[in-house]
Amino acid sequence: MKEQDWRSLGLTDEEYQMITKSLGREPNQVELGMFAVMWSEHCSYKHSKAVLRTFPTEGERVLQGPGENAGIVDIGDGLAVCFKIESHNHPSAVEPYQGAATGLGGIIRDIFTMGARPIAALNSLRFGPLEDARVRHLCREVVAGIAGYGNTIGIPTVGGEIYFDPSYRGNPLVNAFCIGLLEKDKIKLGKASGVGNPVLLVGARTGRDGIHGAAFASEELGDDAEQKVPTIQVGDPFMEKLLLEACLELINNHEILGIQDLGAAGLTCALSEMASRGGTGLEIDLDKVPCREEGMTAYEILLAESQERMLMVVAPEQEAAVHEIFARWGLNSATIGRVAADCILRIWKNGAVVAEVPADSLTEEAPVYHPASVKPAYLETTSVLDLEQIPDVTDANQALLKLLAVPSISSKEWVWQQYDYLARTCTVVRPGSDAAVLRIRGTKKGLALTTDCNSRYVYLDPYTGAQIAVAEAARNLVCSGAEPLAITDCLNFGSPEKPEIFWQFRQAVEGMSAACRALKTPVTGGNVSFYNESGEEAIYPTPTVGMVGLLEDVEQHCTQSFKAPGDYVVLLGETFNELGGSEYLATCHQLVKGLPPRLDLAKECAVQKTVLTAIRQGLLHSAHDLSEGGLAVALAECCFEHEIGAKVELATHGLRLDSLLFGESQSRILVSVPAEKLQALLQLAADNQVPAFTLGKTGGERLQIQVDGQMQIALPLAEAKATWREAIPCLLK
């Protein structure tokens, strides 16, 4: 082997030394390729592993934490939910439609691999500004790709988020979340066991797709990104639907000892993970792998990332049943090898051994790095925000209209109307409210789902920003009437080899951990995506949180919209002079500065408890958390759906007018209450030591906000709503 052999595959000289040491000899080309993909950041988590271990991962309801294809949480009645979020950022930057489609396809496979029936998907997206033609193309195609795959496979996409910010111009983020439902005694794991048992590869045939895709995902996007592209993987939702049905039929009726989907690093990853988790070896004959193209080499077959494939281990007496089921669904299935005793992955082709590697050396023994970490210099400048230098708002009407037209705040209908969010007829709260709510057939229960991350906050203060991402996700679930259970996370950052970026990463993980502990929502799994950079610029650090909540009685769900005129509008939680990191500062003063709003986790818990209790007691007609754009934007959003206006009166109590109207102080929830229940709500808030302010009443065709007796905002709803609704469609026209 020569230096360029391993260096061109992304391995360092030290890593190559580790490989020869582990093998006790030089690797051959095939083996080198296997190490290169398995030791890539994407598969090995070599830069993040040590930090990820600090996440709280245990809880009464957690049945499966990190380490498997997806996490699993107990929801009672013998049922469990299985969920996970994953990134497909780099493929989507190069081929947005297929990149997004196969991202969704991949996360769906992770869910049914565990034995769960996928019931819903969400997606978290970040793009540059829509004024840029290339960004518009990416945005249109990514959304179409998710729609194309999700709608065709019949899994409703019920929610998600989308933000636009210059930091994502060259490197968009596409994170896909999927959740499935299963009986809790039917969990399947990705383990190989039972010496001599057959190993089967099922689903699509293997082509030359995406060879070195995992390595591609572990580098920055350079100018040559388009040339480096491995053969693009094309999603086949039809094939995956058949695979899904066949696998679930098999799992529900036959004994499957281990099952694992093929994703990044293809067969190599699936084989080594299954063997390593099971503490076994595998003897695999590549001549048995059904190939789509002629003359594929061992190297290509082992590294191809062709989609819609699964690997499984069954007892010998089940082998025939597997082939029969897959044949009936019109799918390939091939016995490609056996489980062996010696913990070695031994790969044959044309009657000769082409690779012989200890399974653990590819997985467990991958290098673990503890990269240097330095507080970024930019924080010196960004953290200084002198509000004295910024004139207070003079035309609040205009400021509100301006904010409602910001794509990150405006209606996302253009996105979600392309998704079939009603498939499976379980969607109780559709996209457009704080969280999606699904009913669980055969029970009274419901699930609430959300993904959240305000990455501007994380940029300005990774610790607090990441805490807020968790708190906001929980708040969204609570506003929908659900008790938050657990999270999965997708940590999107720049290059971990840059100390400033690694500092952001560590701070963010610490912040998330603290918030997860306080809110009792353990981390059950997730995904790390590094190297999200293009040119000199890294994206804003974006630790996306996907959170799942439970409603014991789905009839008790709640949405953000005002339901009737004459209700009282009450604000729970306190407002401070906090404009740092706000959308208002960015939009009206072109400033990304200051520290994000403070988060007091005890207060957060108290507000959430108050609102959840109030919803369960039937006190509320609506609940909406305050986020980007603050109180004024939240009020407007509550008015839009049913076109019910509101008239409220505020007092500054020494606050700036802009902070009062547009500041983003945390732990605040806006609710509407029928008159006869107002007292009960105020009492409940008082009991929990949550400040509650009765601001006014719903009704009319205008949104009117008086401050200290002066009308500051008076907008016809029709006008405000049109501005908010048309913003994204207009930009995309």
Binding site: K241, L422, R424, T425, R441
Partner: protein, 233 residues
């Protein structure tokens, strides 16, 4: 009464129709695998919504050749009730059991949203229980729901009262703005000449329970039930 829900490879919303019949209508229901060559013992067949065969080539184009479709055609010829919902409607047109064709929405996008339907003919087994002036709120979810029929076919459809639903405003006015996909004459659902085969792009099984936002779609199924009860007498 007994429903059959046909399952093609890649059928996605078969479960929606099945659950509706079982849990909401409380009638008996069975899945019918696309390889079946006979369908017996059923009172109504549903071709479900969503996708089939990945919607490849054209929606419904590959499903229409499944062996079960000959049996479905025979069942229809003998007067059996056949209901094609969304993708089911597409399959029925591809199979020639209903006139016209469905192609790409003029917006070129998939659209999932509530639609409002004006009922044009209340004198069919599928619509008899719908109060004539009632506007139905039923969601659509399709990328290829743009109904086309040539002028001569359209004339016949009108003359025979085969146009059953048209997209309208919430107040029941049939306007271009209420048309979500470009369908000729705002057509949302049509039936065959003898009125026992109905295809519609809006999905009533998604609007048959208040919990899901509307129960208007259930009127179609109660109509079917009433018709069946009367036929039995």
């Amino acid at each position: 009464m007994k429903y059959g829900v046909v399952v093609f490879p890649g059928s996605t919303c078969d479960v929606d129709a099945y659950s509706l019949v079982k849990d909401v209508l409380k009638q008996s229901v069975e899945y019918i695998w696309h390889q079946e060559e006979k369908v017996t013992g059923f009172d109504c067949l549903i071709l479900p919504a969503g996708a089939s065969f990945g919607d490849y080539l054209r929606c419904g184009a590959l499903a229409r050749f499944s062996p079960v479709m000959k049996a479905v055609a025979d069942f229809a010829r003998q007067g059996g009730l056949v209901l094609g919902l969304g993708n089911g409607f597409q399959i029925l047109t591809e199979a020639g059991l209903l006139p016209g064709a469905l192609y790409r929405n003029t917006s070129l996008q998939f659209r999932c949203q509530d639609s409002y339907l004006k009922v044009e003919n209340c004198d069919t087994p599928f619509t008899r229980e719908i109060p004539p002036e009632q506007v139905l709120k039923i969601p659509i979810a399709h990328g290829q729901g743009n109904y086309y029929a040539d002028p001569e076919t359209l004339r016949q459809l009108k003359a025979n009262g085969q146009i059953i639903f048209r997209y309208a405003t919430a107040e029941g006015e049939v306007t271009p703005a209420a048309n979500p996909n470009g369908s000729v004459d705002n057509i949302a659902g049509v039936c065959n000449e003898s009125k026992n085969v109905l295809g519609m792009m809006p999905l009533p099984e998604r609007a048959s329970e208040a919990l899901l936002g509307s129960a208007d779609g259930k009127l179609i199924f109660t109509s079917i039930l009433k018709y069946w009860e009367e036929c039995r007498l």
